[in-house]
């Protein structure tokens, strides 16, 4: 199994950290992983994307021409990456940042209103975990337990009390993702 994923949005949406948690969870399951950011000077507001590959075999290129799954969290990212989803692949988008949704008939299109859900739950900072929950619902690339273990490993001790909130967010994401 190899899952090639691009996660793209604005800087500050937690795109890179979501990818990192996913990669770390894969590592904890003994899989091969790469996490390749398109890095830039932007800390907030600029575009950010990260390619995450989780595989049972050694990963060749960390940089890809096409993806199994694209998670797009703003309009420019959708426009850039929708054409790069492999036929039969998946695109997940958040309705909040996207005025013109994806239209390709040869891919699976999912919508997750994670921004709205995060606002409702008053947990804006777990927005990316809601999105991750959505991904794991439709493509169980890694187990939720591994994600929680990855959070324990990567979050500083002083933030560990937030892990239940993150779990809540993941489960919320699994609940609200819908196929179009």
């Amino acid at each position: 199994m190899t899952e090639e994923i691009i996660i793209a949005g604005f800087g500050g949406q937690g795109v890179l950290s979501m990818g990192k948690i996913l990669a770390y969870a894969g590592l904890m399951e003994g899989k091969e992983v790469t996490w390749m950011p398109a890095y830039g000077p932007e800390q907030r507001g600029g575009t950010a994307n990260v390619t995450v590959i989780v595989s049972d075999d050694p990963v060749s290129s960390p940089i890809l021409s096409s993806y199994d799954t694209a998670i797009v969290l703003n309009q420019p990212s959708l426009e850039k990456f929708e054409p790069k989803v492999k036929p039969g692949g998946t695109i997940i988008y958040d309705g909040y940042g996207i005025s013109e949704p994806p239209t390709r008939p040869d891919i699976n299109i999912y919508r997750i209103d994670a921004m709205d859900a995060a606002a409702e739950m008053n947990l804006i900072k777990t927005f990316n975990m809601i999105v991750l929950g959505g991904l794991l619902k439709i493509h169980p690339v890694v187990k939720i337990e591994s994600v929680l273990a990855a959070l324990r490993k990567t979050l500083p001790e002083r933030h560990h009390h937030l892990i239940p909130k993150n779990e809540e967010a993941i489960r919320k994401g699994m609940e609200i993702i819908k196929k179009l």
Binding site: K20, W35, P37, V59, S60, S61, S65
Partner: protein
């Protein structure tokens, strides 16, 4: 911390952890994107409290490399890291170290140039690293990691080679390898050498005239031309020995290949994916990955020239290593170059297209 630790980290972070673990005595550096995590990780890890390793943020890359020059003069395992513009500033010091025959490690996490250029990945400092970026006839031993694991592994290897030949070594990575995270098995802890061990291992080092021995002088200066030529000839003989003994490379799917891609570092990773794609389309192509860029695997390229119908040099630059390939091939088969510039990394499909276009 477990002795062998499997973890997920950036290439830059792996360099820092590997340095602490392989008995590095000192790191001297200056922040520059995309490699600042090396110094940041070292600062966060505080190795001066554990292994006793010195970590110092210098006032410039010029100063960093001269701190390395001073530290290396005393026989210690010292290093610096930077990215392209910073490494340009270091060239004077690197030349002095090559001239004074000092072992040290310089890490270059390349970004696109020329000038201030971009902060995105590039391999456009191949010439600078391999052809003697500073003045004078000299070479660095240049290692090109293609994974985070190799970033970690090459730190100790670079020091080992540097001390074996009393010559500076360079890890020539790029922003992609520096910034990407992968699984890495960190090497086990190796203690720093004691002062007694250093004095024994490096009788040439300026450690103070321990035991009343004769003074040791570290210099690259010799105004008598006849003497300077002798020094140069000795250094050149050392380079020939390194070329003979230290070439490292990886071969991938070359056995039945009609065409070969030669690529190093992150370009070699992309090449592997391109080879998968090309083979699925019936094009038999393989990869030769130089691990040492200097010494260059000239003999292996010569061997390829007798086997394949064409060679594509895949580089994230305008065509630098391709010159060394052509020198080795001596016109026997066509040698083409493909690369992207300005910080753009070619994607695997583009490479397949380039391969089709080239032959």
């Amino acid at each position: 911390m477990a002795d062998q630790e499997i973890t997920l980290m950036k290439g830059n972070e792996a360099i820092a952890h590997a340095a602490i673990r392989c008995g590095c005595d000192g790191y001297f550096g200056y922040p520059i994107t995309p490699q600042s995590e090396v110094l940041e990780t070292l600062a966060a890890e505080k190795p001066w409290e554990t292994t006793g390793m010195v970590v110092l943020q210098a006032e410039s890359e010029v100063s960093s490399i001269n701190m390395v020059y001073g530290g290396a003069s005393t026989g210690k395992r010292v290093m610096t890291s930077s990215s392209s513009p910073g490494v340009s500033l270091m060239q004077e010091g690197i030349s002095y170290m090559a001239g004074a025959e000092l072992p040290a490690l310089i890490v270059d996490v390349m970004r696109g140039g020329p000038g201030l250029g971009t902060i995105q990945p590039s391999q456009s400092d191949y010439f600078q690293a391999c052809k003697g970026g500073g003045h004078g006839d000299y070479h660095l031993i240049v290692l090109a990691p293609a994974s985070v694991q190799e970033m970690a592994d090459f730190v100790d290897l670079a020091f080992t080679l540097a001390f074996r030949y009393r010559n500076p070594a360079m890890i020539l990575a790029d922003g992609a390898i520096g910034q990407m995270m992968e699984k890495v098995v960190l090497p086990p802890f190796k203690p720093r050498r004691t002062e007694e061990e250093i004095i024994k291992e490096c009788p040439w080092a300026t450690t103070g005239r321990v035991g009343g021995r004769k003074p040791n002088i570290i210099t690259s200066l010799e105004l008598r031309s006849e003497e300077m030529e002798v020094i140069n000839l000795r250094i050149q003989a050392k380079y020939r020995e390194i070329e003979e003994k230290e070439v490292r490379f990886e071969e991938f799917m070359l056995d039945d290949a009609d065409y070969a891609i030669v690529a190093f570092g992150s370009a070699a990773r992309i090449a592997k994916k391109s080879i998968e794609i090309a083979r699925s389309q019936g094009i038999k192509v393989g990869l030769l990955r130089p691990i040492t860029l200097w010494p260059f695997p000239t003999k292996e390229v010569q061997k390829l020239a007798g086997q394949v119908k064409g060679i594509l040099s895949l580089e994230i630059n305008a065509g630098q290593m391709v010159e060394d390939i052509r020198l080795a091939v001596e016109g026997r088969v066509p040698v083409r170059h493909f690369g992207r510039l300005g910080g753009i990394i070619p994607d695997p499909d583009e490479v397949v297209e380039a391969l089709k276009r080239s032959f």
